[in-house]
Symmetry: C2
Subunit: 528 residues, 2 copies
Amino acid sequence: MTTLEAQESPAGTGLAPAGDARNATRTIAAPLRRALAVAPDATAVVCPLATESYRELGERVRRLVAALGGLGLRRGDRVAVLSVNCHRYLELHLALPIAGLVIVPLNTRHSDPERCYSISDSGTRVLFTDRAVAGVDELGVRVVDLVGEYDALLAATEPADLPDGEDAPGEHDLAGIFYTGGTTGAAKGVMLTHGNLVANAFHFMACWPFTEDTRFMVVAPMFHAAGTIGALATTWAAGTQVLVPAFTGAGVLDVVERERITATLVVPTMMDALAVEQAERPRDVSSLRWLSHGSSPAARELLRRTHATFPQASMLHIYGLTETAPIVTLHPDEQLRLDGPRAMSCGRPAVGVEVTILDVTERTPLGPGEVGEVAIRGANVTAGYWHKPEETAKVLRDGWFTSGDLGYLDEAGYLFLVDRAKDMIVSGGENVYSAEVENALYSHPAVVEAAVFGVPDDRFGEAVHAVVQTRTEVTGDELVAHCRLTIAGYKLPRGIDLQDGPLPKSGAGKILKRELRDAWWRGRDTRI
Amino acid sequence: MTTLEAQESPAGTGLAPAGDARNATRTIAAPLRRALAVAPDATAVVCPLATESYRELGERVRRLVAALGGLGLRRGDRVAVLSVNCHRYLELHLALPIAGLVIVPLNTRHSDPERCYSISDSGTRVLFTDRAVAGVDELGVRVVDLVGEYDALLAATEPADLPDGEDAPGEHDLAGIFYTGGTTGAAKGVMLTHGNLVANAFHFMACWPFTEDTRFMVVAPMFHAAGTIGALATTWAAGTQVLVPAFTGAGVLDVVERERITATLVVPTMMDALAVEQAERPRDVSSLRWLSHGSSPAARELLRRTHATFPQASMLHIYGLTETAPIVTLHPDEQLRLDGPRAMSCGRPAVGVEVTILDVTERTPLGPGEVGEVAIRGANVTAGYWHKPEETAKVLRDGWFTSGDLGYLDEAGYLFLVDRAKDMIVSGGENVYSAEVENALYSHPAVVEAAVFGVPDDRFGEAVHAVVQTRTEVTGDELVAHCRLTIAGYKLPRGIDLQDGPLPKSGAGKILKRELRDAWWRGRDTRI
């Protein structure tokens, strides 16, 4: 609390930013303008379909801006995109917000009804897609075929200037609506402004070097925050993005070797596949200096294997959320701490982001070591959920976004996540954090993937249950015995389902634990 | 220009930032809060008078915030500081804006009447000073003696919490008024907001690594933008600032060796003294990995000598202005280009800053290679001059700040400065850029400092004249003959004054060319 008495109209408070009220340098056009000014002939994007210099990318974006006007779109209209990773997706990610429109990236793993929900909820007027979507015609949406129609549309249009007048979008204008969850009709559209995405780029650049020599490989899907996490930073530095349409361990290692990739972001399931493939058929991956990973926590053994796979790389654990555009915490040079107590931390708040831990019921800040809900603030934090003021009010309070994640900070600001608030199991009055049990399972060499959740139990309310994908022969009893080495008895799984195949996943590669869990709870009252 | 038709109230335009309308993470308190959260025991500041951890710095700042309230100050009040570089200055640089006050740093090289002008013009209510200032009593200013009174004031006050409520200052609140020029009563107070200074820190961090291991040596005076250029970035990373109260080549090299300095910013006159001292009495300067320099252009020979002095250091040329908080362009790894055509460029626009070249009379953008006025935009650009709306309107137009510097961009966005607009000499109808002539003089080994300007000439209107400090015996004719090797005849000095001692300088270490020039023009009509 300030101790200073307020004046009625204090001098110099609330000054308008320069003459430039919209803050042009904090919009999506700014990184592209810089790349065009400093390195027009540098390679902007490499993908199997095309390679483009910044000059070429810039011209295609300018044609697209003009073509969007020709489609009858007006400022603030929503435009959906459904596509595998490709250069056209990158063009749309830039051109739509630059033109003052709002991009709505659709999940490639969703069903058509789920896609139609996002299209309808967002009021999308035009869909750019690389595949047919059943039911979209009834929604009155103009469909542009990315494969058969898009290039012709660009070719038929004269390039516009990049919008840069008073009417051009500003820092606080909406750039995109990103649908989260998405396994039910209750998916929420996260609104991110130009300023949110630009802030995230600066938070990233303050930790990681992005330069003209950066060759960033995009393997995460571009409809997801993880797929575009480095897009603005790489463009600002006039570096190169190398787009991978579909993940396989062999394919990605080939790209790293052939394209001399310097930086990338992967998710834990990819790390495992890369380690297996590199052990069998080693490639030259010495160019990879910067390896970030996110999405879900990775087990220590997996981190060790990944470090062994890419020994030259500095490893960076990123904890992020769609609502925070996405970076919250960063754990740089994680490979140096794999034997210490902070190996499983997701790092410290990025420069520009603040994290506090709130008591789940009292909403008051907690001290070091105390578990509560992770709350975040920063210029990267969403303005809210599209047309859902009640849902927005639930998560945005007193300037802080509450994440639904449970965790604690240690005395040096390292964040440890213990679980999703809704994935915590209450068994016989004890709180069991599913992530802790999963980590115990992951430390067994036979375990590829594990999901732990609560199932109905007449005696304890909930019982700890696990579904595990194994790579070698192992019994449930053996796994329980292994867990007993590191976690308390009341946390041990009471039942384990073993399977050869992978667990169900979201488009972002996260295990759909709720789906597994819900099968057990059907017909019962679900927890709130 | 956008090609999209505007809607009356487009969806999602002008969204308020999250629930946090003041953008707390873009205020001066944010870096300090992060350092306190992640590394309270790390060394924040080292100076001859004191060494403080972040915990100690934080507590002193919190005491100061409380003490400021006790002085009867209210939000938005101006508080001046006059001091050599010391830990108390750093505390004031943080605490005054954090408390919602406005810091007015006074130039230590000014005369008392000049100081009183800044105090009076800004409406300063309290002055923290390490020396007496004649005339300040008549201005009704409360004076706090930094040496005798300040520590007792802190000791007598209970620490306040760092202000962080709705009433705490926000991104667009004024943080400081920085007086520029200052050799005449017409000095202008440059208003910089919290957001301006935070933006500059992010622009710096996107190019230079600031980490917990950063040991940034502050040799530029802390009343000047150069003296605090790394303050927020270093604090954000929880690195260490080592403050040097007074520059001598020997003293600074001792500090580099003893404190294992990793990064610093110097001005060209310092580079020369450091090179001379290091040649005579070499220190271990291997810790210095990042060496930036700014203020005025440096000659190629001086850059070579500096590189030889600090062979381990990556050199970074910074072009900046008080009005841009201060970074405009950056030339990283400049030492690699000293033999090429871009050696004398001040680099490319920092990430987050845009630069364009405007025709001096038409105000239209010029193409590569064309000389015009350097115009800048970005979140770092000043909101204007304190209580000088006409002066503000002259420099802030259509969202761009016009710098008064003449220069051009090459085809890869490298900026070359040719002169201050008002230092250009018009001789016989030809434009002569004084900086070009100075560079020719600087390339002679006998030249320590050189200033070139126009003097009255009945035949040519103006004649090129030089004042030169020499280190060894040399004649004016010899210098003219040397210049003739690189520049055209009409640019050659018609007269040269040689002297042993240094040229007159501003507090920032810039040569006061106007003073030298004005002596020739007294009694005549001065140019506009």
